[in-house]
Symmetry: C2
Subunit: 294 residues, 2 copies
Amino acid sequence: MGFDQQAKAADVTGIPCVRTVVDLRSAIARWRAAGETIGLVPTMGALHDGHLALVAASLEKMDRTVVTILVNPLQFGPEEDLSAYPRNEAADGEKLTAAAADLLYAPAIEEMYPPGFATEVRVAGLTEMLCGASRPVHFAGVATVVAKLFLQAQPDAAFFGEKDYQQWLVVRRLARDLDMAVRVERVATMREGDGLALSSRNAYLTPEERAIAPKLFEMLGQMAAAIRKGRAIDDAIAWGKDELRRAGFGKIDYLEVRDQESLVPIEAGEEGARIFAAVHLGKTRLIDNLAVAD
Amino acid sequence: MGFDQQAKAADVTGIPCVRTVVDLRSAIARWRAAGETIGLVPTMGALHDGHLALVAASLEKMDRTVVTILVNPLQFGPEEDLSAYPRNEAADGEKLTAAAADLLYAPAIEEMYPPGFATEVRVAGLTEMLCGASRPVHFAGVATVVAKLFLQAQPDAAFFGEKDYQQWLVVRRLARDLDMAVRVERVATMREGDGLALSSRNAYLTPEERAIAPKLFEMLGQMAAAIRKGRAIDDAIAWGKDELRRAGFGKIDYLEVRDQESLVPIEAGEEGARIFAAVHLGKTRLIDNLAVAD
């Protein structure tokens, strides 16, 4: 974990920026002493309008909003895009300044995981399916970093995007299970005009792939409509996979209809049903999800 | 986890007793509001003078002392003594009342692990050797319950016995790694007049075994003296194992000399060296440890 994530540390202007747990707690303690509520928006940077929707949700509901930026090495598998993951702290700082967030917390990797660090937080069940099946270390890395961020900042609420629906379930579960007094809120997915869910990884798409990408959400919508009209779930899934392949997508990690609380497979019906997809498009892996019910 | 640990719930008199996280936090919040410091003493009940030494250490250093009693199913392996583990909450309550502890927190298993509970805290490295090698699930269960107790009570300090030295290291590690603002203190092992470390499991010993048991600590002392005088560590360990077997002990899970911070094996010398032992005596497993240096 020796790469220099914080090379651009000096570039953040506008929004106050802290780099250490001590400084973070000191800033938050002042607000707490004044009786203010604290919202936390954990991110890996490369901020887009989807992140800013989380910031806006926090600003609306909470007195103070703290945004964290950390490209968390624990949640990348050995074959994944940790070193290539987009980083641009100066631009992120400008966006957060314009959004009027109160504080940016951008710790170095060594501040989060000092020498000797050895603890892992795991959530069983929820993390073993869907994205957990194809990215086995991912959710333990997410759970561990989020547990640390929650304990460092002790926010009243934290805001996560619906695009990463399974992540939201995992975080809500760990916060409950570890008796953390934080509400874990879910914010609706921001989309481009053509329906593509905003994601930092969209930057990897070629123009040709970018033209294909919106068909993922389009297909989820068509599947949901078909299920609502009575089409069998297995049949809808098979049809969806065929259509995605025909549209030009590569490997389909999964395309599933699951209960949106437990993530267990749903046999029939639409109540509590949600469609989850992870598909490859060129070198990029895209995820999205949609409730079956209107 | 459906057994009825709390059958004796109504029997506690004297010391105030709470059963839920909400009541625990409410009691502690009143003390916090008055500016008082909080000490936590996590136990599995069956309290003896070793536990009361932890309570005394907390009472001496902290304004308020909360003792928890929970026979934690997560830290027992499938072959271990969960159902046989001694439970006597009424007697425990009397001892805590006499000791002048401020609060007993004795939650039901279902309060700690409600339906759907799925989160585990693991500490790598430290937990994979010594007791971790022979009790593979043990330390994950300890780490998980202690993380929960720390987050439920948010104490300023918590008190653990030196007899369970490895446990103290694991708890200290997880508290640091998860950014918990709690000091994890170590309290010297309480011993019978003949040197046997106090343990709830001593109650399992037959009179014949009880007569043999003190030779464990005696042997640790002799090994430490021999190493201080220059005896080679490997040689001292081999000698110690022979003497324990000769004294009547059964299977030796381990008898090792380790660095007392990292628990890695020590080749020679006494600085930071500590002898760790886990040995069976009849149906009982006894542990003890001793610093090599005087």
